[in-house]
């Protein structure tokens, strides 16, 4: 019975944290997010060399063969740092292929996703708020994809796209390359500038069916929910750290504002919300590999809960800062924006809770 991190996991977090502290201060976050693609190959290479991109890729295909929990711990640290780029997108492509790909597909893509020479993404969402793999309408008939995908993480820079689509045998997963014929990709103007969202259109694009089908699509969605929850937790931690520090420095009425009970209590409420929530996403991440019958429901619970908490953090910490928190120059809005991304993508909190109710038989 041990519900805590191993020494290796603590070390992993520290290593990523130290790297990002040194290499990715908010000045760099801002320059990357204001750049044309939202992607910085040099920063990405740094994450690759730490092993972040290969954490959950099976060892037979060039990865570390660790679990979703390890990947989620990385997501937490990237969330703390507001790291820009395709971490989530590429991680989900790797999970989808590891879960549902053929041997040939794994062999072709996993080593490249692990060593960072290829970027990937998971295209699940569609118009009208479709985030359930069984509800997709994009068609994959006769080895060709047609239709549009919405809100795809970093879709415009992905080399390989795992597409949830409706094939001859029903909904499942299909592999396409962005360079293939009939693909149109572009970025939206998204609230979170650190993680680009793309629209993809397929017109007779060649695609290979993945044998894992609908089940693998569901697993990848579950992984996405856990990784978003972990990102949200990291972001909350950062916002609490920044605001606590500010409350100890800022003086009004002749004292630091952190001495006022109104401020103390608002911060204490946030800490009280955040502290137990860690264990919920830890459990959900652990369940993905170790307690599979609880995995789907826990992913939905962790995502909905954690993004609700993040939303509250975003609003309360901005309010606690006063005017400075509302400026572009102050960094807090980087996380405010990431909170909106985390709650919007892969199905919002209300949708996840309705799923969880159904999964309980309610």
């Amino acid at each position: 019975m041990d519900f805590g991190l191993s020494q290796d996991q603590v070390l992993l977090k520290d290593t990523i944290r130290r790297f990002l502290d040194a290499e990715c201060p908010t000045s760099r976050v801002r320059s990357v997010m204001e750049g044309p693609t939202g992607h910085d190959p040099a920063l990405w290479q740094g994450l690759v060399s730490l092993g972040v991109t290969g954490l959950a890729v099976p060892a037979d295909f060039g990865g570390a063969g660790l679990e979703l929990l390890d990947l989620a711990l990385a997501a937490e640290e990237l969330g703390y740092n507001a790291t820009p780029g395709p971490f989530l997108a590429s991680a989900l492509a790797a999970i989808a292929i590891a879960e549902g790909g053929s041997e040939a597909q794994k062999k072709r893509w996993l080593p490249r996703l692990a060593d960072g020479t290829a970027l990937g993404t998971f295209a699940l969402g569609e118009a009208d708020g479709v985030w359930a793999p069984e509800d997709v309408v994009v068609e994959a008939k006769g080895g060709k994809l047609s239709g549009a995908k919405a809100l795809v993480p970093n879709g415009a820079i992905a080399d390989v796209i795992v597409v949830a689509a409706r094939g001859e045998k029903g909904p499942g997963l299909f592999l396409a390359e962005r360079a293939a014929s009939g693909v149109t990709a572009g970025d939206y103007n998204g609230v979170d500038m650190t993680r680009r969202l793309s629209h993809l259109k397929f017109e007779g694009t060649p695609a290979e069916a993945m044998p894992g089908g609908l089940a693998a699509a569901g697993r990848t969605r579950d992984a996405a929910l856990v990784l978003l929850a972990a990102d949200a937790y990291g972001g909350c931690r950062r916002m609490l750290d920044m605001t606590t520090r500010y409350a100890k420095q800022r003086e009004q009425f002749g004292q630091t504002i952190g001495a006022f009970q109104a401020v103390k209590h608002q911060l204490a409420n946030l800490a009280c919300e955040l502290e137990p929530s860690l264990s919920l996403w830890w459990y959900a991440a652990h369940a993905f590999d170790a307690i599979r019958d609880q995995s789907e429901r826990h992913a939905a619970l962790a995502k909905s809960h954690m993004t609700d908490v993040y939303d509250r953090f975003a609003r309360d910490t901005t309010e606690l800062h006063g005017g400075i928190g509302f400026t572009w120059e102050y960094d807090l809005h980087l996380w405010f924006r990431r909170a909106i991304y985390d709650r919007s993508l892969f199905g919002d909190a209300t949708f996840q809770r309705e799923r969880a109710a159904g999964l309980a038989g309610w």
């Binding site: 019975m1 103390k264 204490a268 009280c272 929530s277 919920l280 830890w282 969880a356």
Partner: protein, 410 residues
């Protein structure tokens, strides 16, 4: 991360089971309901001689009261939270008596072990942990709630005695208690935290009166205790004179991680989930209502977070890690959750929530209405929610201490 127990602990579990099979039968279990059930029902704690005998044997094996030395009747074992969890699980399954609930075993005993004289330990510890001596806590006063250190109950030395005058309030179980451990101002000229002594008072002493205090729930679980020229031996002082504040705080060090603090909320939540499936509101089960479903899942996520937070604290404790913020938020987090779950219960009951506890037409005999009111009681008791927020902000986040609250404190 591994949520199973190692082979070594599974073997320990077998030993505990064998001990239980030999020493506690289903027939015995019918005699003494488990502590948490009794707690929910209220009423005085009853201790059957069979339970006392069982506890004595369990102490000999080191299964109960590991922090109490053998010579005072305890289990005397080095702390092992995982073993404690297994013991608690197995004892619960067979409804075997676990450690006594109440403020005597949980607060007085650790305090006596750290600060008491040899005579005090011999006189009180074994009797208390076996349930023969029942205690109440004389801390709060009408004018001293959150600001406990402002207390005014006065103790003066008169020869070999203390003469005590004043009033205590919110005294749980005073009507059934044999003794009270009490904070008394004995040094009126000292700064407020330095003028208090920790004194043990026999509840049968002349001049001491207990008056039940009826709460908003309609029942009387608390009391007021009036002390008028109450004369107790000087040797009933625990620790040094004037050091009562520090003596009373030492109990905090002995408070074990709040494992299972979510258990009451879990019981109410499971009740609500069932109720929502079997209660019809305007012709269909409440569970089909989108708002009820949403709130139910929202609270379940918080409840699970709280339960897994317990696993995390257990692990930290087993590893010897400082619990820090994880422990500081426990009370506010679990009592807020309890309040939210009870509120949902009221909403699921709809109009039936208007029926009082005991009314046969009330769902579950009105237990959920009672839980709804009690959820506020526990939010206040033992340090209100706002006091908890101060603690989290000051000790957890390192924000400045409240100037008025820390006045005169070292």
């Amino acid at each position: 991360m591994d949520l199973s127990f190692s082979a070594e602990y599974e073997k320990f579990r077998e030993q505990v089971r064998a001990f239980l099979a030999e020493n506690w039968s289903a027939e015995d279990a019918a005699v003494e309901p488990p502590a948490d059930e009794r707690n929910a029902l209220g009423g005085p704690i009853r201790v059957d001689p069979r339970a006392t005998e069982f506890r004595r044997k369990a102490c000999e094996r080191g299964y109960l009261y590991p922090h109490v030395p053998k010579r005072y009747g305890g289990g005397e074992k080095s702390p092992d939270p995982l073993a404690q969890t297994i013991i608690a699980d197995e004892f619960r399954k067979t409804k075997a008596p676990h450690e006594m609930i109440g403020q005597g075993p949980s607060m007085l005993v650790p305090t006596l072990i750290e600060h008491g004289t040899e005579e005090q330990k011999k006189q009180f510890v074994e009797g208390t942990i076996l349930g023969k001596i029942k205690w109440c806590q004389g801390y709060s006063e009408p004018g001293s709630g959150s600001d406990l250190a402002s207390l005014r109950t006065k103790g003066e030395r008169d020869g070999d005695d203390w003469v005590i005058n004043g009033q205590k309030i919110w005294t749980s179980d005073a009507q059934n208690a044999d003794w009270m451990f009490c904070l008394v101002r004995t040094e009126p000229d000292a700064p407020k935290h330095d003028g208090i002594s920790y004194i043990l008072i026999d509840m049968k002493t002349p001049g001491l009166t207990v008056r039940p205090l009826r709460q908003m729930t309609g029942t009387a679980d608390f009391n007021e205790v009036f002390l008028e020229n109450v004369r107790v031996p000087y040797t009933n002082l625990v620790g040094d004179r004037g050091k009562g504040w520090i003596v009373s705080r030492s109990t905090l060090k002995h408070e074990r991680a709040l494992i299972g603090s979510a258990s009451m909320s879990r019981r109410v939540f499971d009740g609500v989930a069932l109720l929502a499936q079997f209660t019809n509101v305007r012709g269909r089960p409440a569970i089909q209502d989108a708002v009820i479903r949403d709130r139910l899942v929202q609270l379940e996520a918080k409840l699970l977070a709280s339960e897994y937070h317990g696993y995390r604290q257990l692990t930290m404790s087993a590893r010897g890690e400082e619990p820090g913020m994880a422990a500081l938020v426990s009370k506010l987090s679990s009592t807020t959750l309890g309040y939210d779950v009870a509120k949902l219960a009221m909403d699921v009951m709809g109009d039936r929530g208007a029926l009082a506890p005991g009314e046969p037409e009330a769902p579950g005999m009105g237990m959920l209405v009672s839980a709804y009111m009690w959820s506020l009681g526990v939010l206040i008791a033992g340090g209100t929610a706002n006091i908890q927020r101060n603690i989290i902000a000051e000790r957890g986040l390192g924000l400045p201490r409240d100037a008025a609250a820390s006045a005169g404190r070292k």
